[in-house]
Amino acid sequence: MHFRSPSRTPATVVVVSLLLVSCRSEDPVAPAAGARAHPVDPIPAPAPEPAPPPTVVDATAGTPTPAAVEPPTPPAEATPEHGGWTVGASDDGRFEVAWRATGGAVPRNEPFEMEVLVRRGGDPVEGATVKVRGWMPDHGHGMVREPLVREVGGGRYHVEGMLLHMRGEWDLLIDVTKDGVADTARSALEL
């Protein structure tokens, strides 16, 4: 198999968790779960602005839905109205994950880069293993590349090498593993 099916069964989550934990590179200076490692965000955040509540994307339904487990606390600057962020909880609500394409809209069949912001309980999650995958549910395959993810601090992760090479519906899957806790955030895209 090229990709795991974007199933949301608990069994899959456990397998994902085990796989990711076993592959995770250890970071000796990574803070404990929930700890705020950086008092100052090294990337200047856009100024907060009043905005409607952020959308939680549910890939299965393809429409905004409430968070399944606990309502996530979205980062103040990560709103769909500001900078094109897509915000959501991971499947089991263990992380709040926001992402955006750095160049604006996600292009079809052109390389692009992404920023991913991971928080838990409103605090940035540093030292996590983050993987980004694309999956075409109608095609039964995903991306033909493996993106590179680099942690940049403050719970932010830079992703390069994204390429969604075909027209149609994609699920964007962001796997986050931190201290033995693994979860996946999903967004549905139409390219």
């Binding site: 198999m1 090229h2 079809r108 069949n109 390389p111 109608d138 095609h139 039964g140 395959h141 995903g142 991306m143 033909v144 590349r145 493996e146 993106p147 590179l148 390069e160 090498g161 390429l163 090479h165 075909m166 027209r167 149609g168």
Partner: protein
Amino acid sequence: MARPLLLLAALAIAAPDEPTVLLTDDEIELAREFSPLESPPPDPTNRVADDPAAARLGRAFFFDPRFSRSGTISCATCHDPARGFSDGRRIAKGEAHHARHTQSLWNVAYNRWFFWDGRKDSLWSQALQPLEDHREHGTTRLEVVHAVAADEGYARAYEDVFGPLPPLDDEARFPPAGRPMPEEPRHPHHVAWTGMADEDRDAVTRTFVNLGKAIAAFERTLVTRRAPFDVFVEGLATGDEEKLRAIPPAAQRGFSLFVGEGRCILCHDGPNFTDREFHANRVPTGEGVDPGRALGVLRLLDDPFNLRSPHADDGGELGRTKLSLPRPKWHLPGEFKTPSLRNVATSPPYMHEGQMETLQEVVEFYSTLEGAVPPGPHTEKLLRPLGLDARGKADLVAFLESLTEETIPDALRGPPPTPDLPRDGR
């Protein structure tokens, strides 16, 4: 035989009271995504990619059979301008038979990967491999650079573009033939090669790579961008009736199928009619399993001329991301690169082993999937028999034929009078 009948049918259908444009608004929007095709993207890894003097040298080289073991095989032997820069053969044949069909070179400069299996990541490094492949040119890099140095025109053309050639007349340092052949360490070519000083080997390889960059500069000029379909799309924008009649109604209906229920658009997407990536389309294959991209990506990552190598003129910048990303595990046997469909009617047969003689056979295959190999875990799930009727099949072929640009510039048909640019007083 089918074409005159098709044309007659098209004329009969295009009755005066029928609208000139048969596409829906959505289809018109889609048509604009397929035309025009812009100029080829720049190649920062080849510093002479758009240098006319390099292209002229590359053009001379492309048509010259002296750069082969037998002295009879040139690039144009398999990439014949009169055959859509392919060879009309099912399986390629240079100095010996190859395993796959010769791909057309039309619009090759737009590719992301090269060869059917994408084992090359630049046009210039693609051009090098056939020279040393025993089934193609069957020569060695030492023979190639000696031949260039021995010919006054080539030597002058080379040095005009790239600077001085190595001191190849020193036979003690530069044997007449040789190349790295680690898989056959006792081969005389390998022995000769490994007997050279490191810096001399580097100089020969650099010269060899430069010739690949000159060939690439020529191949970047093999561009087809204004087929009748493009004229039709111009007509959609301007309302020019004459342009709207550039393709017959059958081709318009074929386009509707192409982007609609035919789902051809899924892989043959964008103005060059390819997504530039790899798919398993289940075409019947010969004996054995061709690993396709699954092996191609391994060879790419191991290629001494890939974009991470010091031969890339951008300092490895493009290769840093391009090569860190493809992963063998994403690919299973049977995936091959999606070819462009521009000028496709000029280069039968089709598919990676030339399995299908005509475009009609190709359309028939996708209509029935008869003879398809069993689906694998990464076969396109959307690949289902289209069940087209006779008119639908003919319409699709008519559309594919509307992507043919009728004229080839003379400069692409044969070698220049001399490899170097004319000088005053000559």
